[in-house]
Point group: C2
Chain length 192, copies 2
């Protein structure tokens, strides 16, 4: 039964994710979500007391996945620049490979749903990025701006590149965007 539980719950979350990115939060009804998941309406409310709970759970789930993908194989990188480069490509790969999740995060973050509390709560998962940036500043590899600004500029730049890739038809532009995007943000942040 444990397996069943997970099956239905994930089915609901997957359907919700798909429909939310297609039609928006309020544009998607709980009835549509349960139908798409092949589940009764009541089951949805068994797992998520309200629709807003579902949206929030989805956001934490997706942000967790993103944060995990982001940190992959960083230790294997020797220089600070290589580490940042790896995070850069991890972020972009995640966005391109998980288009729905990527769009969902964008939608959620620009929506009135997100509170300052939620944003700060999620930020906790990015402590290691914060530490890395502070280390880079201390060792003089990157310029001494506030870590908040540095991280935000870096993260949003990666989102910009993903959006360009998703809009672009040609797949050869893809790598150019990734390379050139990093050139821009790295030169902007690096000390020399």
């Amino acid at each position: 039964m444990k397996e069943q539980i997970k099956d239905k719950k994930t089915a609901i979350m997957e359907s919700a994710l798909k429909l939310f990115t297609e039609r928006g939060f309020h544009g998607t009804s709980t009835a549509q979500i349960s139908k798409e998941a092949g589940v009764a309406t009541g089951t949805l409310f068994n797992y998520f007391p309200t629709k807003e709970d579902l949206i929030n759970s989805l956001y934490f789930e997706v942000k967790g996945q993103l944060s995990q993908s982001m940190g992959k194989e960083i230790e294997a990188q020797s220089t600070f620049q290589d580490k940042l480069r790896k995070i850069w490509s991890n972020l972009i790969k995640w966005g391109v490979d998980n288009q729905e999740e990527f769009l969902f995060v964008g939608q959620f973050c620009s929506s009135p749903y997100i509170t300052k509390f939620t944003r700060e709560e999620v930020m906790k998962e990015y402590v290691f990025l914060h530490d890395l940036v502070n280390e880079g500043i201390k060792t003089g590899v990157i310029r001494d701006f506030s870590a908040e600004l540095t991280i935000a500029m870096f993260y949003q730049a990666s989102r910009t590149v993903v959006n360009l890739i998703l809009d672009s038809d040609s797949s050869q532009d893809k790598n150019k965007f990734i390379e050139d995007g990093f050139k821009i943000i790295w030169k902007g942040l690096a000390k020399k």
Copy 2:
């Protein structure tokens, strides 16, 4: 009567803008909008055949305002860097001074409402930015990346800074964010 028309129409648009940023598109009903505007429901549908028409009109209106603010006093600037610097501060000033409009644009652009067509349609207003960037590339002031990438990185960086300012309590951080943000994006884009 001409005056009346404009009064009611703008009242509707202003109320819609306010409520959309507070509660999202689907989260705001046409009844709420008309009530807030001090107008009957029927009047709203007199000016905007459907709710989607209202949202779209609002987007074009707001983007027009933004594009106008962005280009202010550029001719007065002599160097290319000064021009970009002016656009940078214009963009940020607009976002900070027109918070609702700023958030609305963000919400709309990340929503499923926006089509590739709408995005391209709005892009036409930014031809002068495109020209400026191409000129910068040709004269060797900025690095030779695709104008699309350059503009997107620059524009999104300015949005990032506005978001940081809106989240920040201290007003002395504000100028620091604007200054440092430009340092980052300029060094990233400039040739030397």
